[in-house]
Amino acid sequence: MSMIRSIFILLLFQLAGEALRALTHTKVPGPVIGMILLAAFYILRRREPSPALENAADGLLSWLGLLFVPAGVGIVANLALLRAAWLPISVALIGSTFLTLVITAWIMHRFGPRASIRGEGL
């Protein structure tokens, strides 16, 4: 039962996110709004998620890469789009991604708090 309850909660908040997105005509995807709503729900009510929900969430998240495979296969069909300007595209993609990673990591590392728990898995 607790498994079904966890799936119900996640899908319910996704649905709420999709509904809010449709009502407000925002570009933010429904699941992202659902994520914000679910976090806000627990933070505002000062409650901890149940262990069953934590297990379901950790289970889904530990396979997150798999869930991107169908969309990833889709790009193979569209790779021809890159042919026209492959050099500026590849240099910009690699260069800009690297710069973004380094600047974000450096600011957070330099000014953010240290983790109190190290090496703990999801």
């Binding site: 799936i7 996640l10 899908l11 908040f13 996704q14 570009k27 933010v28 995807p29 699941p31 992202v32 659902g34 994520m35 914000i36 709503l37 679910l38 976090a39 627990y42 934590e54 969430a57 950790d58 998240l61 890469g65 869930l67 991107f68 495979v69 169908p70 969309a71 990833g72 296969v73 889709g74 569209n78 789009l81 300007a85 050099l87 500026p88 595209i89 910009a92 993609l93 260069g95 800009s96 991604t97 710069l99 973004t100 990673l101 380094v102 600047i103 974000t104 990591a105 450096w106 600011i107 957070m108 590392h109 330099r110 000014f111 953010g112 708090p113 240290r114 983790a115 703990e120 999801l122």
Partner: protein, 240 residues
């Protein structure tokens, strides 16, 4: 017998099932390869995409055929995104202590991603349409498509770049952090989510609950920030 049309010949209903089994099998194979060959390029997502791409071509199956089954795996991306709220709730105290550094890092990362993507394409002689398609590449794919359309980019190109950028982050995040000599799970999650959204962060999310929490914040905040920043910044960039 033409074996290349085998899946269709057996039964039409077998194609979706075949697509699901193929996706799970190719990913599991990728995980095994990664275990034995701990090289960044031995990434399960990349390996699975290559195996599936080749298999579909050999069996003359279209992407539409494949998606009849793969959509069930794709669907789980929704609840998985919602599930990022759980590590966020767990990391609340850590986020309170690091609130301003987190906001500064997010803002800087969003700005750098947007402007440098555009600028490098222009510097190397790429067209403005390509440069504008590059600008939102760090965002989660649906937002990248929407932002691209609203600033005059090519939405389908932005979608491809968002996925390729995500793969690039998933592959390079561990080597880049070793090179930076930073071993901070919150910084890792935030950087991966800001630069490569969900796909980029899929590599670090299982590593640490703080990485998952900060990746969730970055995926949401970068999408919202860039959706606001892009229409303001892009007219300024266009002059150049």
């Amino acid at each position: 017998m033409n074996w290349s049309t085998l899946p269709h010949t057996l039964s039409p209903g077998i194609v979706p099932l075949f697509a699901i089994v193929l996706t799970l099998g190719a990913y599991l194979f990728g995980v095994e390869v990664q275990k034995r060959l701990p090289h960044p390029l031995a990434n399960p997502v990349v390996i699975a995409i290559v195996i599936i791409g080749i298999t579909l071509r050999l069996l003359h199956l279209s992407y539409q055929d494949y998606f009849t089954g793969a959509q069930f795996i794709y669907f789980l991306l929704g609840p998985a995104t919602v599930a990022l709220a759980i590590p966020m709730v767990r990391a609340l105290e850590h986020m309170r202590r690091g609130f301003w550094p987190m906001i500064s890092a997010l803002l800087a990362g969003s700005l750098v991603g947007l402007v440098s993507g555009y600028a490098i394409v222009r510097l190397l002689g790429g067209s403005q349409a390509v440069a504008l398609s590059m600008a939102p590449k760090s965002l989660t794919t649906p937002i990248a498509i929407a932002v691209s359309a609203s600033i005059g980019g090519i939405p389908s190109l932005s979608a491809v770049l968002a996925i390729l950028g995500g793969i690039l982050v998933a592959i390079s995040i561990d080597p880049v952090f070793r090179w930076l000599k930073i071993d901070e799970p919150s910084a890792k999650g935030l950087a991966a989510g800001t630069a490569g959204s969900g796909l980029g962060a899929s590599r670090v999310i299982p590593q640490h609950t703080l990485s998952a929490a900060f990746a969730g914040v970055a995926i949401g905040a970068n999408g919202i920030l860039t959706a606001i920043l892009a229409p303001i910044l892009v007219p300024l960039l266009r002059h150049w």
